[in-house]
């Protein structure tokens, strides 16, 4: 009888250890979740989020930083570098400020046929705000996906 108890507790310990190892291993190898599949914490227009950051960067940081945000705006330009990282720049005509969206490489094809003036919704993680008198101020989004809005 006693032997059986020992055996059972031994098996239980092994199972628990195995489960722990499994969880740890999975956690260790965890990949980034596609931000496109995550629900947006806030949906806001480009002009509004720039306004929020310009007015009070600290408050906006604590509200938006690290959050998944969907931003509606007009494409000003699409920037592609030699390593084919794409940045989509949203800005209203005449404004120095913009929302710069670094596109997740798995969604690069969504940026392919964007032209300046396209209406889009960009979803990404907000990484912060860069204010510069000379260069204009930017809200930066990372790991972005893009959806075109068809308004015709």
């Amino acid at each position: 009888m006693k032997r059986k108890t020992i055996l059972y507790s031994f098996i239980t310990v092994i199972i628990i250890l195995g489960a722990l190892c499994f969880v740890a291993f999975r956690e260790y190898n965890r990949k980034h979740v596609d931000v496109a599949d995550k629900p947006a914490a806030y949906t806001i227009s480009g002009a509004e989020i720039i306004k929020a950051f310009s007015a009070d960067e600290k408050a906006a940081n604590s509200k938006y930083l690290d959050k998944v945000i969907a931003i509606n705006g007009t494409v000003k330009s699409v920037d592609k570098d030699e390593q084919s990282s794409i940045t989509v720049i949203l800005s209203d005509a005449g404004s120095m400020s913009s929302v710069r969206c670094s596109v997740d490489s798995i969604h690069n094809e969504q940026a392919d046929n964007l032209v300046s003036g396209s209406q889009v919704t960009v979803k990404g993680v907000c990484t912060g705000f860069n204010a510069d008198e000379l260069l204009g101020s930017d809200v930066i989004l990372n790991r972005c996906s893009i959806k075109k809005i068809n308004n015709n």
Binding site: R30, N61, L65, D66, T127, D132, L135
Partner: protein, 185 residues
């Protein structure tokens, strides 16, 4: 009348040349590497949204990096970087303000590769420190490519490494900068 026109033209020219002295990018790259020989894997992060401005006249140089913009291959590593090491919610931005100390050796109008020295102050994790490094300025087709590689001692910036992983995370992070800058118009 002629004088006015000439002086106006001069003013316009002066403004133009001033604007063209500056080069900038908002898509500069910074690579972070804290791998040690004992690390079970590479500890590398990449930031693709670095803002950088250089004034070719004075050699003044400025970088702005949003810490949450560093991407790591493993999600867990990225979270640790943000939450335990650089505390990016508390200190979202790292800035460097400095100068190319031997700016006169660079001919910004002729294509070529110029080795330079850069000196300045970096503010990371709420700590401001002097940084000095050698780098390279490449002029190519009207663009400036600024690149540099240097090491920072994480402890200098109050970034502490837990003893449990002290041999697996390097105490000296190597930072590689690569910025392709265009003239500011």
């Amino acid at each position: 009348m002629k004088k006015i026109i000439i002086s106006l033209a001069l003013v316009v020219l002066a403004c133009q040349s001033q604007a063209q002295d500056k080069y900038f990018t908002k898509t500069g790259k910074i690579y972070f590497d804290a791998t040690t020989p004992a690390s079970p894997e590479k500890i590398e992060g990449t930031n693709k949204s670095v803002t950088c401005v250089i004034d070719s006249k004075t050699g003044n140089l400025q970088f702005s990096v949003l810490m949450k913009g560093f991407e790591f291959e493993r999600a867990l590593m990225e979270e640790h970087f943000n939450e335990n090491y650089v505390e990016s919610s508390k200190y979202p931005k790292t800035e460097f303000r400095g100068q190319v100390t031997d700016n006169s050796t660079v001919n910004y109008h002729a294509d070529g590769v110029y080795p330079v020295k850069v000196k300045g102050k970096m503010n990371l994790h709420g700590v401001s420190k002097d940084v000095e490094t050698s780098g390279k300025i490449t002029i190519k087709g009207g663009k400036i490519i600024a690149s540099a590689a240097f090491a920072i001692v994480l402890a200098d910036y109050n970034v502490s490494i837990p003893t449990l992983v002290s041999d697996k995370v390097s105490k000296n992070a190597s930072i590689t900068v690569e910025c392709v800058m265009e003239p500011l118009k």
